[in-house]
Symmetry: C2
């Protein structure tokens, strides 16, 4: 009996020791699985729950999607000044519905934020940001936060990205709304602090201007937070450092990842890591010390869009990585970071590229990708099973 007890104790102690040493486990291989399709160029996704999400269609509606049953419900009451790209004649018409964001206090106030291209008939369009109450699949109590006037004929570079910082402020991106640099005024749009375009804006969640915005009293539009930004579509919060990161489309190459700095000048069009379209354009000179350099830029065009930070553990090799999808080469990029410094850059899914506008993480940590096509898809990135 004492011998038996000793044996069992040895087994027991052995188990305790084993529990203290994690066992080697191969990392999961990621694969893509289509969860929902037949969305009209989905631009953004915002999760009301693990199963229900709002999806903005570039060429269509704001849609409520059930990811389990794949049902879609168009949200009613969308503002009538929406300019979309349906039937657009021009190649590359950028108009439509852009980012959608859930208010942090949604459970109490049922409010959401939406960015879209708004038009004035016979005049033109620009980027507009609203908040609204979502009730019975309808938008009510719509409030305008920002209209990036003037309305112009150009259908490009609306920006339209949104994020909420740890300071509980709303950050909004507006593109500079031009195609050719030679169309710039003497003071380029993105550099002009009296023009809301080519900028990052910062608002309180109720749409008022924060008193601590960095350029107040400096001859600038009060909502401007940063400037010199050509066309940023993606902005996201790094939960590890509390910094905000944004992507920026360059012209010929020049695609960048930027760290948002209060009052920062991101240099466009005087500074770019790429080349200009208008070969004869001579932008004003900016002193090196006045410009914020990108934390990363690509050597080739990827057209980076709606980025997100992954905090899940299903893919332990990816925990705390930054994901950036792209349009032109259908790439998905993953950056490993040391604080706010990229230390590796990985292009994933080389053999199954998909032109993408957004990557997002669900409340429970699943990764979803939105494809920019007429039969637009929500794709889940999940671990491969039954490995042969």
């Amino acid at each position: 009996m004492r011998y038996l007890l000793s044996l069992l104790s040895i087994f027991f102690l052995n188990c305790i020791t084993k529990d203290a040493t994690p066992v080697f486990k191969p990392v999961p291989i990621p694969v893509k699985e289509v969860v929902v399709e037949d969305l009209n160029k989905p631009w953004s996704i915002a999760f009301l729950s693990e199963e229900i999400a709002l999806v903005s269609e570039k060429n269509g509606d704001l849609v409520k999607v059930n990811l389990t049953y794949q049902t879609k419900t168009s949200i009613k009451g969308f503002p009538s000044d929406l300019k979309d790209s349906i039937g657009a004649v021009d190649f590359g018409d950028n108009a439509g519905i852009f980012d959608v964001l859930i208010d942090p206090n949604y459970n109490q106030n049922k409010r959401i934020f939406i960015a879209y291209a708004a038009e004035k008939p016979n005049i033109g369009s620009t980027t507009k940001f609203i908040s609204a109450r979502l009730a019975n699949d309808s938008l009510t109590d719509i409030q305008t936060i920002l209209v990036a006037a003037p309305f112009t004929q150009d259908n490009f570079h609306y920006g339209g990205g949104m994020a909420i910082g740890t300071d509980q402020k709303l950050y909004l991106t507006v593109g500079e709304r031009l195609y050719w640099e030679n169309d710039e005024p003497t003071t380029p749009i993105a550099q002009d602090l009296n023009d809301p375009r080519g900028k990052m804006h910062r608002f309180n969640l109720d749409g008022s201007i924060p008193k601590d915005n960095p350029l107040i009293g400096k001859g600038a539009i009060a909502s401007i937070y940063a400037y010199g930004i050509r066309n940023a579509q993606g902005i996201a919060l790094n939960p590890s450092t509390q910094s905000l990161w944004f992507t920026e489309h360059g012209t010929i190459q020049g695609d960048e990842l930027n760290l948002l700095q209060s009052g920062g000048n991101y240099g466009w069009p005087s500074r770019t890591t790429g080349k200009l379209r208008s070969k004869t354009y001579k932008p004003p000179v900016l002193a090196d010390s006045s410009v914020v350099e990108p934390v990363w830029y690509w050597q080739h065009t990827v057209a980076p869009t709606g980025l997100c930070f992954y905090t899940g553990t299903t893919f332990p090799q990816w925990t705390n990585s930054l994901f950036v999808p792209g349009l032109s080469r259908g790439s998905l990029w993953r950056f490993k970071l040391d604080e706010d410094v990229p230390i590796s850059a990985e292009e994933l899914f080389l053999d199954s590229r998909a032109r993408s506008r957004k990557i997002a993480q669900s409340p429970a940590g699943k990764l979803y990708l939105l494809t920019d096509e007429e039969n637009g898809k929500i794709i889940e990135i999940k671990p491969k099973t039954n490995e042969l």
Copy 2:
């Protein structure tokens, strides 16, 4: 007593169940640690044991290095026709000692293989491959395997990579030895089956020609295995698939990863994913079906060199990945593969670039990088410890 036994049995069964489920463990973060320095542009490394390695210096000697004690011993008896780059006037002189390889039967025959630039005074240089017996830190019984005549004045594109396949054959790369495409003869060097340059060669380990070489009897030099290769420095065996992979330097971009096919035409100079230096050069036209496409090419110049497949498990996120270092941007690339198809491409160590000629795995699975500089280093890539 029965109660106590039941309790202990429950603990025991619980432990068995726990042992069956691996515990989540975050993947290690890689850091670089200099192991040996003051090598003169180290080009390649071959392990005689976990601790002792042969290192070829581009600008110097064949050196025996003790990785633990950091001692270096120059190997005596190197052929006197070595052309190195010491004191080279020309920028970018590519001459020197290239790859070094240990014979699979080294324990019995003490033989090694060496590639280097050999010269004939007043005539020029070319790539030469020898085998030799290593005894008392000296080379003896030197046998010539291949001299890639003619000897010419150009100091570029020697190739010089070597690998042994699972067929126990020796594969050797010879560059096309030109700088300007306009210097090509009517039949470009790499396409000319009667010219050993711009080629992959295949030999028996004793230096004789394998009877099953693919171009025997086709009006070609018998040792030629593949052609149309501009300048390949790295060739390595994929242990998972038994395929041979090689890197190839393009001109302006055009850097490639290729899968070696018997008798394959890799297309240079008629085909490139980059651009030519000589803008007026018109290469002969090749039919699509006759050319082997690269499995991967870079959108920008990385100048890829001595690649290797990692089979260790210290970095489980990297097991079975392919590593490719580069010269021009000091990058280290990691490719995840599905069989012989790249599915992701990652650039590592963005914040600590190092111009590199070679990455290699020691017998026990450690990863080492060789830097191409006058104070050349052997760097170990190891897991970061004491994470803050």
